[in-house]
């Protein structure tokens, strides 16, 4: 934790300065007129707000990703003891990754990696 403190301090310091730089110049300025604030569409106009129930075309992928990522969290401690455990660790992770590749392979075959 002691080593994390400088990392956290660097985060906080740069965050504060960047935030101040972003916010401060515009804080006193009046809002630009409405036509200046229209969304940039190269001379075009939208009919609605951009904020909407956005149809992210890759939603099955995000679910596969969450499952995969959860497994990855086991791998960090595994990597640390790998040299000590030797072949056991290799076999163990081999089985584990083979299982997960099945999941990815299935998703690919079912065309779940493409835009829905």
């Amino acid at each position: 934790m002691r080593a994390l403190a400088p990392a956290l301090a660097a985060f906080a310091g740069v965050f504060a300065v960047a935030l101040a730089a972003t916010v401060w110049p515009g804080a006193k300025a009046p809002l630009p007129p409405w036509p200046a604030r229209a969304p940039w569409l190269g001379g075009g106009t939208p009919e609605t707000h951009a904020w909407s129930r956005f149809h992210a075309r890759y939603y099955p992928l995000t679910l596969v990703f969450v499952a995969f990522e959860m497994e990855m969290m086991f791998m960090y401690p595994w990597a640390v003891v790998y040299v000590r455990e030797g072949v056991t660790a290799l076999a163990d992770m081999g089985v584990f990754l083979a299982l997960l590749s099945l999941g990815v392979l299935y998703a690919w075959r079912e065309r779940a990696l493409r835009w829905q």
Partner: protein
Amino acid sequence: MTVLRRLAQDAPAPVFVARGGGAGLLPVELQADPRLRMVGSARHATVLLAAGRFAGAMGDALDRVHDQLPSTGAVVWWTADPDAARPPSLAEATVFGGPDPVEAVLAAHRRAVSQPGARRAVLADEPPHPFEGRGDHGQGGEGMMGGVPFGRAMAMTADDRDGLALDQLPLQLGPFLLGLPNGVRVSAVLQGGVVQEAELEGLDLGEGRALAGADATGARADLRWLAEALRLGGLDALARRAARLARAGATDAAACARVAKLVRRSGLPAAWSKVGVVEGEDARSRLERRLRFDPRAGGRRPLPADRIGRALAGQDWSDALVTIWSFASVGERAPAAAAP
């Protein structure tokens, strides 16, 4: 402060170019000049360079872009008919009639960063729909999804190919968007970044004299087209190289061939393959045809706009832009204007 201004004056001028009638793809060549930096959104620019004629709906679109330029920005009108009628956005613009507007743009840039007088908006300062004080909370909305909160309606759901019914975004894009030919505007309905339906509109480019050098044929025309295609693909440095060759008259066949080789190695043809398939031909093969810089290969029949519009349905928006640009004919009459 003066140091800052001096630095800013000497910077490459970030310029947004709006191509109007009689400009062809000539303005594309401007990126060859290292003192300019072409930007993709007027919000990033200090100078709005309006090239050619802006009549009717083109003028209206230019007015909107003019107002979106940061308030310190300057406007330059590059025209062959300085006496022609002009839209309000060009009323106070610096008029330039010569063949090479770089110096005029640089002067405007220096003015914009050193003595930023606030440029006035030309459109009325009012929201798209009146909303203040209306509705249950005074922000123009009704209930969950109704009304015009903050001046605009909310998007509504519609069926889609994957069985979900999420929101559609109906909008008009262009005519001054990277990858749209002169005078072409797209009315599209997007759902989740995928085009559900799209229609290409050819706006009236007006009558009058064209800019000197606007017409180009053969390799020079292909290089102009390629320079914009490369920018669309994120290859700005190669685009500048193509623009330099075009500007030099496209006489160096070996240099053109080297550009073509770099483009083929960049993966752009792969990114364009199977995109915008019409009559069995995809954007990649249309790109390849340009890369041959063969004067005999040009002059293919432009495709009717409604055919292109139909080809956009089901594509990701960025692929749709690639499709449109892959059909762009280099001459004035862009695909949309061709009769079906």
